[in-house]
Structures are given as C-alpha cells and as structure tokens.
Symmetry: none
Subunit: 200 residues, 4 copies
DNA sequence: TATGAATGAGCCTTCATTCAT
DNA sequence: CATGAATGAAGGCTCATTCAT
C-alpha cells in the first residue's frame, strides 16, 4: 500500500499487522461516521499512532477507502468463483451455496460493507476505482450466470430474471444495515430465506 | 424554513418557488457527489444565487438535508397511510398497492432517495433527526402490518416475516441505484415483480 | 485571477486594488525569502488579511507566482514590441531604446525580477507555465532580431551573435541583484553602458 | 562533515566517496527541482541510502547546501588566486586567463552553479553562510583588481569599471543556464567572447 | 554502521456561515 | 432582498530529523 514496506520478514510482519490495524480502524470509523466526516485526526486517535506516523502505513485517505473495498470484494469474488466453478452441482444448490457465502461474507465484514455502500458514488465515478468497479461487475455477472442456469432449469419464479438479480442484490447488501451478530436469525436462516424468495 | 418568509401572497409564491429550486438543486448535488463532498459554493453555482442570497432560503446545510428527507418520507407516508386505512381491501391487494406507491415514489424522487440512503448514518445518530427517524420507523411498521395481515391470510411464503420485511426494504430501496426512467421495466413491472417474490 | 471577481464597478475597483496589494506583497516576500520558504501565513501577516480572506483574491500560491511573472513579462513585451515595430530607426538606436526600456523595467520591478530568476526552474518545467515560457522566448527572439539587424549593419563587434545575446541577457537580468535606487548609476548609465559593451 | 568520520584509511576512503556521492546527488536534485522543493526522501531515493543512513554522511540539509557552494567557490578561488599572483602577465592576458578558468569551472560544475545562483538569497542573509559570502566577495575583489589593472593600462572600453564588473559577473554566471556540453561554443569561444566584449 | 519507524509542527487550502453595505 | 468580503478552524498531508534496535 505505502511506498516501500520493509523487506526483512520480522519487520514485515509487524508492518503488515499494523497496517491491517489501521485499515480496520478506518473501516469502523468510516462505517460509523462516514468517510467524509472522519478526519485523519480521528484515525490518529483510534490507532494510537501520530499524525505523521499514520502515513508510514497508508498512502492517503482515499487509498484507505479503496483498500477497504478491495478487502471486501476480492475474497468474496474468490469464493464465488470457486462455487461457480463446480459444474456438477445443481443450479439451485449452487445458488444457495453462493448466497450463503455472500451473506456470511457480509456478516463478517459489516463495517467494510457499510462503507462500500455508503461510498458507492465515488466508486462509480472516478478513475482510480476501476479495479473495484470491475470486481463489483464481475460479481454481478457471476450471480446472473447462476440465476440463468436456475431459470433454464425451471427453478426460478415467474419474475423477470434481471429484476430478480437486482432484488437479490438489494436484499443481501441491505443486510449490513440491520444484521447484528447473535440476533435471532443466523447466516443460514438469512441466506436460505432469501433463496426461498427467489426460487420457485 | 428560514426565519421570516414573506407574507404577501405574490412574494410568498416566488419565495417558495425559489426555495424549492434550492432544495432540488441540493438533492441532485448531494446525490451525485455526496452530502459531505458538496460545498455551499457548489450550491451557489448550481442555483445561480450568491453566497449570502442562498441563506435567505435556507437555515443551514443540514436543514437542507433534513428537508430532502422530509420531502421524501412525508408524502410517501401519507399515501401509505391512506392505502392501509382501507380495510375492505384484500391483504395481498393492499400490499401490491403499497409497494406500487412506494416504488413509484422512489422513481419520482431518485435524488432524494439516493441521498436518504447515503446519509442513513447521520439520520440514525443525531438528535435533530428524530422526526425523520420516526417517519422511517412508522413506514416500516405500516409495511410490517400489511405483511402480517398477508401472513395471517396464508398469502406469504414460508420465509420468516421479519426477514421478508427486510428483504422488501432492501430491494425497493436499492431500486434508486439502478432505475433509469424509460428503461425496460416500468413501475408496475417492478412493483409487481417484487410482490411476486414475496407472496406465495 | 480568482473565480468571479465582482461586477459592480465600485466593488471591482476595490477588489482589483486589494488583489494587486496581495500580488505586490507576495512579490516582495518571494524575492526576500524565496517562493518555497514563504508561507501563506507570512502572506497573511504581510497583507493584514486572514487566512481564508486571502483566497478571495487568489487561486493558489502558484497562481500568485504565475501572476508575478506575467506582470513582469507582459508589459515589457509590449514595450519591446513597440520599439521593434518602428522600422525607421537605425538598428543601434533601436537596440539602445530596447535595452533602456528593459533595464528601466527591471529597475521598476526588482522584486518581480528576482522572483522570476529564482524560480526559473519551475517555469521551464511545468505545464501551466507555458504562457510565461512563451513570453520569455518571444522576448529573446525579438532581442535577437534587433541584434541581427545591428550585425547586418556592421555595428556589432566580432563576438558571435548568439553569445552576445546571451551575454546581454545575463548582464541585464543580473542587474536586479545589485541595483538599488538612488545609487551612483542611473537607468541611462546602465543601459548605455551595456550597449557600449555590445556595439562596436 | 558529520560527527566522526572513520579514521582507518580504507574505511575513510569509502566514507569520503559515499559522502561525495551524496553531495553530487544533492547538487543535481537541488539544481533540477530547487533546494526547498527537494525533500530528504528524494535524496534517499537518489542515493539508494536509507533515511537514517543518509545522516551518517551529512549533518543537515542546509550543510549540504553550504558544502555545494564551498565545492564551487573554494577551488575556483584557488585557481584565480594563482592566476592573479603571476605579476609578470599582461593585464589583458591575466583577465583572459581568469575568465577562462572561471567559465571552465562553471561548465564543470553546472549543477553547483545553478544551485548557488538559485539560493543566493539565503546565502546573503544568514549567519552560517559567512564563509561562502566571504569567498564570493573575495572573488569579486580579485576580479575587480584585474579589471583595474586593465583600466590603468588603457585596455578597457569607455564603460564604467564597476558596471563592467557587474556585466561580466552577469554574463558568466548566466552561462550555467544555457551551456550544454557538446554545444557549438566551447569554453575558449565563450571565455574569449566575453573578454572581447569587455576589452577595447 | 545501518535501519525504518516515529515525531509533530507546519504546509496550503476549503469550508459553512455572517454581516456591513 | 441581495451582495460578496470576511472569518478562522479544520482539513489532509509532508517534512527534516532522531533513535531504539
């Protein structure tokens, strides 16, 4: 992330750990107060670093935001690619597996997810967000592919597939706004519930 | 909104029109660039007013945000109250009527809706947002009431009702992110599609 | 210079006067301490404005530097164009007229000139300095034209013309480093002295 | 320069070589980007040393600047003293020898020279620059002495001697701004050309 | 010697808002 | 009603230098 991270393994490990700490603290603050409303001073306070020291671990406030989005999308995309790659699975099982992975990922990255949604605007608009944008689009394409297979197998309801896709995106992403760990509904209940709405 | 608006009717009409112009410009800018990233200078440019002149029509930047949310929620709530009040309608018809009104309202206030979602955070957190918060909660309660009647009538699927509620909130609110007027899906298609997913 | 200066004449005059005050103060400070070593806080102190108020009159620190260079080069160029345009004058008279105008201009803009020389580097390097760069080049081309006419008339010494040009540029520009008003040598003495060195 | 350089000859040689490398890199960077605009980080990158390592070879950024000026002035002064010491030479030959040595020195230290001119301001102003200032003044006095002998021998033109001195300083120093090795004019051509302008 | 993390003051600039005219 | 100048705190970020390892 920042120009040259240390090369010696021991130092490198510490560096990485602290950098991750900064990113996590940022995700939390951005989620709670908003990206724009969070000052680097807030981050200084939250991390215990000093104003200048912070910049050993990051390039800029915006890079931090990009990193948060990457940490959200990249591993999710990887898991989803993996699920989709297994062609022996029935389409509806594949959808359930995918939605489960997705909901689980959202629940495990609530802060990241809230930030991602809140800052959607800047992500869609500007140049340096291309990779993030591409990940999001790839994810949607994979999801649509699975829905298409379900549709072909007669497993979807009567609702237009692209509308179904958007409905699904809306309901899962919205999860980050209300889900609290330890609540009445666990990951499976949520994921299966959503799939039940979609599948015939 | 701002201290004393004129009392003579002719002046008053002009005043109101200009004030509405400011609010609409603000909604557009906030939706496009974010509330925090929009400066009053942007607003000055967009409205053609001067820095000082702007403040004849508004109290503060934040009041503008509150007003945008009110303009979104209040008329929606009114329509929904009206729909719900008709106890002769079948529960599923009521749900369809409600969702139609809701989707139509979102489509008619894309900017307002995007702003409302984007600034969710500040709405939930602070004192002066109580009225907005109450409106949102009342809306959800009304919606849940209709769903309960559907459930009682055996019209819902097997999915937990509170999860269904949240799914519906997610999908409809998300509409503002992708809906473009003149697209393939019109209001009815969207509203009915969503209901089809929910209802048995 | 700054986005929209006022349009009403009375205000406009005051605005322009204060803006000029800022530019002059900047020229003095930049000349004394260097552009890089002068902080906006220094400028605030020198102008009596406040940190924010300063920015009513300027766009940025760098624009201030550009403006200083423009104020130096543009009027000089105009005078020189005028001198060169008179084709009835003998070449050596033209050279003397030109050098006199030039020396007088340097003496009247010591601060500007010192700044221009000191920041030569950034002027030559970056994009937004094209106009300044073009002015400088145009000036040198005009000067060379006059020298060429002198040479053709056999009025120059034996020294290579392009070297003569550079020598002249060096000696006149250097004047800003030592000239103090009221010194032993006045404008005419300096300008004529330089010409005497150049001409046969 | 920095606290204790090594005393064992082998180490000392390596130390000196690296220190010289740092000074040369600094001269290049300062000349290209300006002293103020060059950060120690730039220097770290240019030298391949680390932030801390750099400080084994230097005391401070400013000492680096002083050293660059010393490296420029001291050897020049030594050569010039030597030229001036030979009282058997004719005044004009002496002037030619001096200017030749001077031009050659400038050409051999373009970076140093550019830096010296650019940072003139700080050199003249501050305490710790006394030695540099004294060298510059001594150089000018020696030069003026030779001009005086030329004048006494009737070899100068009609131009005031102190103006001639300043003109010469201007033209030779300015050489650093345009001279590029391998150009049409070599050291002799330049030095002789300048002298031809000065001498009758 | 060499490392790279850390410091914290200072940089330029923007901001929402007010008020004399 | 309208203007635009003014405020001054706060914004994100950079810097030369130091020091424990």
């Amino acid at each position: 992330m920042k120009a040259p991270p240390p090369t010696r393994p021991a130092l490198r490990a510490r560096y990485d750990a602290r950098q991750q700490g900064v990113v996590d603290a940022a995700a939390r603050l951005f989620a709670q107060q908003g990206y724009g409303a969070t000052s680097m001073a807030d981050l200084v306070e939250a991390t215990g670093l000093t104003a200048g020291g912070l910049y050993h671990y990051i390039d800029s406030k915006e890079q931090l935001l990009i990193r948060i989005c990457d940490e959200l999308l990249e591993p999710l995309l990887e898991r989803v690619e993996h699920v989709v790659a297994d062609e022996t699975q029935a389409p509806d099982d594949q959808l359930r597996a995918l939605v489960y992975a997705w909901v689980a990922h959202v629940e495990g990255h609530l802060d990241h997810m809230v930030v991602f949604q809140q800052e959607r605007r800047v992500i869609e608009a500007e140049e340096q967000w291309r990779r993030v944008r591409r990940s999001r689009k790839r994810f949607e394409r994979l999801l649509d592919g699975v829905l298409a297979r379900c549709e072909a197998a007669g497993l979807l309801g009567t609702v237009d597939r692209s509308l179904t896709l958007r409905a699904l995106l809306g309901m899962v992403n919205h999860t980050a706004q209300w889900y609290r760990p330890g609540g009445r509904l666990d990951t499976s209940a949520i994921a299966d519930g959503f799939c039940d709405l979609i599948l015939r």
